[in-house]
């Protein structure tokens, strides 16, 4: 025990600031990490697909063709770039809002539509796609991600795992217990907090009294990072480094990616009740699509025509996927009996025998 008589209260200085490489105007503020040109272009392409999917989903919901939907506009950069850093044989543990991340990691867009359609295949990645089933209950999937990463380590693999959650999720007990296990067992997991400023109507400042979310990682002795979540270059640098640490046995990383939810919480939400138009207008200035587009233009990697084509292609992709989704048959009304246990138990056999189906609406 070291003799100390001074108070050890935390210093007043803020210790985390978001790493930024690309300014909102699309200009470099420092050296860019090494990224191939095609990769840069791909980032924008995926982001445009994400934005297009989002706009379509919102309008489908208004038409009553899909159910409640949680939009991603504003958060495309963090989702797309982090997912691009993950290898195909590595695993993703997403939330209900990570449509773009899932798409990049291989989830068919059809199945992304099926999710808000209330179709059972919506929560389910195909066999060859390493994406975990979405849990609607906030933060519940974080210990699962830790457990899977831990299992991989026990098996002697060199894989990295990625999981996402929101700023609100950091208040749940499961966030805490998961991160503590991640630290204690030094699992190969990168946890990305998509701090989009709001948890439904609660602003980030009232979610927790800490200056940053990033500093929460220190409570678990975890490598902690704060990054501008609308900056593709900073994201690429921080996430790829963190995944590499995970793969090489250097333990978990906690990343606060500061971004913004440009839309409502879900289609059932009216953000006009709790946030100002001024805030929204200000945040639109930081739109990651705008910033990335400007940067690519500056680099000469994107012409007007190419940009227009990206939007056209995205529209076509989304339309095709929607058509596929709408053509998927509604499952038998009693399909759910088959997925309670590996084998039907006697009570389920009896109940299925007596089952009276209703028409699907």
């Amino acid at each position: 025990m070291v003799a100390k008589t001074r108070s050890t209260t935390k210093d007043a200085t803020r210790r985390y600031h978001p790493i930024q490489i690309l300014s909102p105007e699309g200009e470099l503020l420092g050296p860019s990490p090494t990224i191939k040109d095609e990769e840069l272009v791909k980032m924008l392409k995926f982001m445009i697909v994400g934005r297009t999917f989002d706009q379509r989903a919102l309008s489908l919901q208004r038409q009553g063709r899909i159910g409640t939907y949680a939009p991603i506009s504003g958060q495309e950069a963090v989702q797309v770039v982090s997912a691009m850093c993950l290898n195909d044989d590595e695993w993703m543990f997403p939330t209900y809002r990570d449509y773009a991340a899932m798409y990049v990691h291989g989830m068919p867009m059809r199945d992304l539509f099926l999710f808000p359609m209330g179709h059972p295949q919506g929560g389910r990645a195909p066999e060859d796609v390493n994406i975990y089933a979405i849990s609607i209950s906030i933060a519940t999937h974080l210990p699962h991600a830790v457990g899977a990463a831990w299992a991989s380590k026990i098996k002697g693999e060199q894989k990295a795992f990625i999981t996402y959650h929101g700023d609100g999720a950091t208040s749940e007990g499961d966030f805490h217990e998961a991160m503590n296990f991640a630290g204690v067992f030094q699992v190969p997991l990168v946890t990305i907090c998509e701090n989009n400023g709001w948890a439904i109507s609660l602003p980030r400042e009232r979610q927790t009294h800490s200056e940053t979310i990033a500093q929460k990682g220190e409570a678990y002795g975890i490598n902690s990072q704060m990054v501008d979540g609308n900056d593709v270059l900073a994201l690429y640098q921080v996430v790829s480094e963190s995944l590499e640490r995970a793969r090489t046995g250097q333990g978990p990383t906690f990343i606060e990616a500061v971004t913004y939810r440009l839309g409502p919480h879900t289609t059932a939400d009216d953000p006009g009740r709790y946030r100002s138009q001024e805030e929204l207008d200000e945040m639109k200035q930081k739109d990651p699509l705008v910033r990335t587009t400007k940067y690519l233009r500056g680099l000469g990697l994107l012409s007007d025509a190419e940009e227009a084509e990206m939007w056209e292609d995205a529209k076509a992709t989304v339309s095709d996927a929607l058509k596929e989704a709408e053509n998927i048959a509604v499952p038998n009304q009693d399909f759910f009996f088959d997925h309670v246990y590996a084998e039907l138990t006697p009570n389920l056999i009896k109940q299925r025998r007596e089952f009276i189906p209703e028409e699907a609406e």
Partner: protein, 325 residues
Amino acid sequence: MAKLTMVQAINQGLKVAMESNSDVVILGEDVGRDGGVFRATEGLLDLFGGDRVADTPLSESGILGTAIGMAVYGLRPVPEIQFMGFLYPAFDQLVSQAARIRTRSTSRFSCPITLRVPYGGNVKSPELHSDSLEALIAHSPGVKIVTPSNPYDAKGLLLAAISDPDPVVFAEPLRLYRSVREEVPDGWYQIELGKAKVAREGTDVTVVAWGSLVPTCLRAAQLASQEGTSVEVVDLRTVSPIDEETILRSVTRTHRAVIVHEAPKTAGLGAEISALIAEEAILDLEAPVTRVTGYDAPFPVPVVERSYVPSDRRVLEAIRACVKF
């Protein structure tokens, strides 16, 4: 007196409670500025201020856990959990803490909390937004649970719950929030906890239901009457403790019973009521007690949920079979 939906009646009940008792405080996710995701707490922040209507972090165990401390310290907190499926993370604080403070302290401390929580399906919600946990709560001593089936009861039961010296779960049937409007008196009135109501009188068979399924059972009873069967519908109102007397009084007259709930069948509250009837009134029964319930599977996705929740048709079939036995 105005015609109100259930959610409006609840809103008015909260307002009346807060006006008449300054110890009543509300806390929960989005209950303040947003007025609650279903608008049950709309306008209350402006009326009563941030000390009495607190938007909390996303933290169910924290919401209920701090409410316990408030209650022990003399307030009358009315915490909200957004959906009953999110009561699971607060389950420990509910059944091992709120419910046991009195026992643990041999009544030095009490815990007068009214935990508001919407429940039930058939509104096309995603997973865990449709669960019904009344049986789990009924099996946990020290806490009560109440659920209204109409706007009038909603306000009256809510005010009784807030006045109760012990923790009460006030379970709000989501799909009845706005399904009907009804005259609701403006001021304070209470509906006694622990008392069921005969929602429809009849002589041939007793149907026992609560909350979300009472309207279903009333419709089924109406259909049955067209076939010449006279159905008595008992609306439990208080789910725990159960009003055994009203149930048994009805069944000993009708000699037949159908119990209806939305939660899975096995070890549901229907089992308790069925057991109760068979144990206490076996000699009066002219047919086995029947249960019409959700299936022993997690509440399913929207495309099939209407087949999971007991429908008018399923209740009617059960009534027919019971009468024919």
